[in-house]
């Protein structure tokens, strides 16, 4: 059967899904007696109306970039990694250990080594479910979600009993040394004459995230390994026929996926908090699933979706701050976006496909 043009697939359908989610959100806001237009205005202004707003939007977006890419890479191998949350937590742990115990002369070296540490820890956390899947056939969805809970417990223990400085009240590490502090967008953009908010947390790791998009794109579509990952994701029998070891490929894919999640720590732990706190990941691992879904597992799509969810996060926070709309509703709006762009994708896709086919028939 003929398909519709590519632009409809990658642009039109997500946009319609988004509009539907927005309409239902508006109805819900109306129902609780608030003005949806005002709410939209607040969200847009709060997230995109100032460099401060942009700073937060991009900060969140950077987190989602890493986790979204992680989910996307795994998805190409037919693996559903919903353990991004745990892998990012443990990545944070690896990063904190590097930053706390290795002295660095300059932030750039610190970023490089810390990224390696975070990546290795994140990958290691993904390695166990990956091994269980590859060798024992334990379903990766089950094991990765269980590992999220284990990661939270491990982090809790480490922060409360091992890493907490003597006398401190909250379960967190000491502040990282100054030499590991990453330049914020303010510091980066000031020399080229762009005034950017000083207090916003967006930082240099945004560019690390963008670089990761390019690397993932190259990996998936331009290397033999990416070829093998995608082949395995489409047909395991086909992979075996071609001499691709499913065990090895599942392991490598999940290590890459876990490492990408771990890398998120360079943004939220190293770039923003500058120490490791409990619950530093703030659910970004799960948002990554929605980002990958909406971005159709393509790095460029993931990039756009990450910015959208960054906007929703920041705009939502503003909404909770300035209106009587309860913060739970923000979660509802985010959930609606996920529902429409991810789960209900076919609901929009099928009628649109029909319309395109009908048009084509008339023109034929």
């Amino acid at each position: 059967m003929e398909k519709m043009p590519k632009w409809a697939d990658v642009v039109l359908i997500p946009v319609i899904s988004l509009l539907l989610a927005a309409v239902i959100s508006a109805i819900v806001i109306l129902l609780i007696g608030e003005n949806p237009m005002e709410a939209l205005n607040l969200m847009v202004n709060g997230a995109l109306g100032s460099t401060y707003g942009w700073g937060y939007t991009l900060y969140y977006a950077t987190n989602f970039l890493f986790t979204g890419l992680a989910v996307a890479v795994a998805a190409h191998a037919g693996l559903f990694n919903i353990g991004g949350e745990g892998q990012a937590m443990i990545g944070g742990l690896g990063l904190a250990l590097v930053c706390l115990y290795i002295p660095f002369p300059h932030w750039s070296i610190a970023l490089l080594v810390a990224a390696v540490g975070a990546g290795i820890f994140g990958a290691a956390w993904a390695a166990i479910p990956a091994y269980l899947q590859a060798k024992r056939g334990s379903h990766i969805v089950i094991t990765t979600i269980m590992f999220n809970f284990i990661a939270a417990a491990v982090l809790n223990y480490m922060l409360v009993s091992v890493l907490k400085p003597k006398g401190a009240m909250d379960p967190a590490t000491a502040k990282f040394p100054e030499s590991t502090q990453l330049p914020s967008l303010h510091e980066i953009l000031a020399p080229i004459g762009i005034e950017f908010s000083k207090s916003a947390p967006a930082n240099v790791t945004l560019f690390v995230g963008i670089a990761a998009c390019i690397v993932v794109w190259g990996l998936i579509w331009h290397t033999p390994l990416g070829h093998e990952i995608r082949a395995l994701g489409k047909s395991e029998r086909g992979a075996v026929y071609a001499g691709i070891s499913p065990v090895r490929t599942v392991m490598i894919t999940m290590l890459i996926s876990g490492a990408l999640c771990g890398l998120m720590a360079t943004n939220n732990v190293m770039g923003e908090a500058e120490r490791l706190v409990l619950n530093a990941t703030e659910g970004a691992g799960f948002i990554g699933i929605a980002v990958a879904l909406m971005g159709r597992n393509h790095p460029f799509g993931v990039f756009l979706a990450a910015i959208l969810f960054g906007f929703l996060y920041q705009g939502g926070a503003e909404l909770a701050l300035w209106t009587n709309i309860p913060s739970e509703l923000i979660v509802v709006i985010q959930a609606l976006v996920i529902l429409f762009t991810g789960a209900l994708d076919n609901m929009v896709r099928m009628p649109i496909e029909k319309i395109f086919l009908a048009f084509r028939k008339e023109n034929a």
Partner: protein, 509 residues
């Protein structure tokens, strides 16, 4: 002349822009066997699905015994006296024969009265048509041929007057197929009407009274079988003259390329699929492995192709190859000079969602010619694809099309091109022409023969005896994982091989 048992008038059906059936009319007299022949995608299955109420025709009428009949669903088809025997049986494996026959046709909420009535009727049916089965055996305890009888009985129990059989001999041994046709003959003599859908010209020629040929959604001809010839039918199917016989010069076998000794394969369920096989394939010859599907041929191909583990020993050009563990995977096999056209191109030989150009080096994608530093040289892959598409006449010659968008024959050409062009010492080839149209069959057979004449060794596995006999130089028959016997292809025939395939051993069978 009596009213036709079934008459189709101007049936048309489109799926989106694809016209699957276009203005099709046939008329079948009662008490005859009517064949419908055509290549894959010619629209045979669509037509039968319309007749059985799975699809609704866009245009056209169905007349049964002189009355115009609407068939909106399969219930209506059954009520109109149409019974269908599908290619893939629709039986509940862990029910008995009797329970399967009654299923969906129970008289009331209580099962017992239905079953005892069915038992009585089944007995009458069996005697009337000489269709014997044990009603109390479970489906998974009886053979494929028997299962097919159950399907036929199911239709007869529902008072079918018109029986449609879709590729009924695909899974049968020649002997089972003969029995099936005896049953069909009997049914015909009792006044039933039979529509036989097949792509095997031989069955059409031997058993049908009339035959309709379909090509690209249209009925190109309806002729009396006796007044036709295989060549004429093939030409009608393909739209041009086809060579039905492979041109074969006598083989000149050289040194042994593949030597198999005491090869055994145990599958993941612990069942021994291949039992202590010894075989040798020499340079410049084709060894055909005949057998009914499921007797270990697939596993033999897979273990040779590095897709599963085995025990025993295999040697290529005198070099032993490991059968499990390191170096036993498909990539290592390819390095050793073994090319493999797998039995199932859709699940194994191709990644259906990949572009043609991504498939054209599948399995060889790590070789230097396709690499540029760390990266895949996608441009080289595409150029390679274009060259192969041209050489093997793949249509449409567009490297950007997904593998699944090609017809079966063109998909197979992509796989065959990829494997043959590697210039292997040994070619493993499974079901080379399954689901492939006649035109492409001709082409693929020529390619295999050419490879043989270049002095390559070829191991051919096929469930089509005709194919085995026309291509092979030697034929080995597998049954229950064992080699039942080996014969020079020009000194044996379908009858002898058929007996071996059924597990009847004997040197002078």
């Amino acid at each position: 002349m009596t009213a036709p048992a079934i008459e189709l008038k101007g049936i048309s059906k489109a799926f989106g822009p694809v016209q699957a059936n276009k203005d099709i009319s046939i008329s079948v007299q009662p008490g005859t066997i009517h064949g419908i022949i055509g290549e894959n995608g010619a629209g045979k299955s669509t037509l039968m699905s319309i007749l059985y109420g799975f699809y609704k025709a866009d245009k056209g009428e169905i007349w049964i015994k002189g009355t115009k009949t609407e068939i909106p669903d399969s219930q209506a088809a059954i009520a109109a006296g149409i019974g269908m025997v599908f290619q893939h049986f629709k039986l509940v494996e862990n029910f008995t024969v009797l329970e399967n026959i009654v299923l969906g046709a129970e008289d009331s909420g209580l099962l017992m009265p239905s079953l005892s009535r069915a038992r009585k009727e089944l007995k009458e049916l069996e005697e009337e048509y000489e269709l014997y089965v044990d009603p109390d055996k479970r489906i998974d305890e009886i053979g494929v041929g028997m299962q097919q009888r159950v399907e036929i009985l199911k239709a007869l129990y529902r008072k079918a007057e018109i029986l449609i059989l879709d590729e009924p001999t695909g899974v049968l041994t020649p002997a089972e197929a003969d029995q099936l046709f005896r049953i069909l003959d009997r049914l015909r003599s009792e006044g039933k009407t039979i529509i036989l859908i097949t792509h095997k010209l031989r069955e059409i020629m031997e058993y049908t009274d009339t035959v309709s040929v379909m090509r690209r959604g249209q009925m190109t001809a309806t002729v009396k079988t006796a007044e036709s010839s295989p060549e004429q039918l093939a030409e009608l199917m393909v739209g041009r003259k086809v060579l039905l016989r492979v041109d074969k010069v006598p083989a000149t076998p050289g040194k042994p390329i593949l030597e198999i000794e005491k090869l055994s394969v145990v599958d993941s369920a612990g069942v021994q699929r291949v039992k202590d096989i010894d075989l040798t394939v020499r340079a410049g010859e084709i060894l055909g492995i005949a057998g009914v599907a499921g007797n270990g041929q697939s596993e033999l191909l897979e273990v040779l192709g590095g897709m599963r583990d085995g025990t025993g020993s295999i040697r290529i050009n005198g070099q032993p190859l490991p059968l499990s563990g390191k170096g036993s995977d498909a990539r290592a096999r390819r390095h050793a000079g073994i090319a493999h056209v797998p039995e199932d191109r859709q699940r194994e030989g191709l990644i259906m969602d990949f572009h043609a150009w991504e498939n054209v080096a599948f399995g060889y994608h790590r070789e230097d010619i396709y690499k540029k530093g760390l990266f895949l040289d996608n441009a080289a892959l595409r150029a390679d694809t274009e060259a192969k598409m041209e050489k093997f006449d793949v249509r449409p010659p567009n490297p950007w099309l997904a593998a699944k968008s090609f017809s079966g024959g063109n998909q197979q050409k992509i796989v065959v091109a990829r494997e043959i062009e590697r210039n292997p010492d040994l070619l493993l080839i499974g079901q080379p022409t399954r689901g492939v149209d006649i035109g492409a069959i001709e082409f693929i057979h020529q390619q295999i023969m050419e490879l043989r004449d270049q002095g390559k060794a070829i191991l051919l596995v096929s469930v089509e005896l005709e194919e085995i006999l026309s291509l092979s130089d030697r034929v080995a028959v597998m049954f229950d994982g064992k080699i039942m016997g080996e014969r020079p292809a020009d000194q044996t025939d379908e009858k002898e091989l058929g007996l071996l395939m059924a597990g009847v051993a004997g040197e002078a069978a």
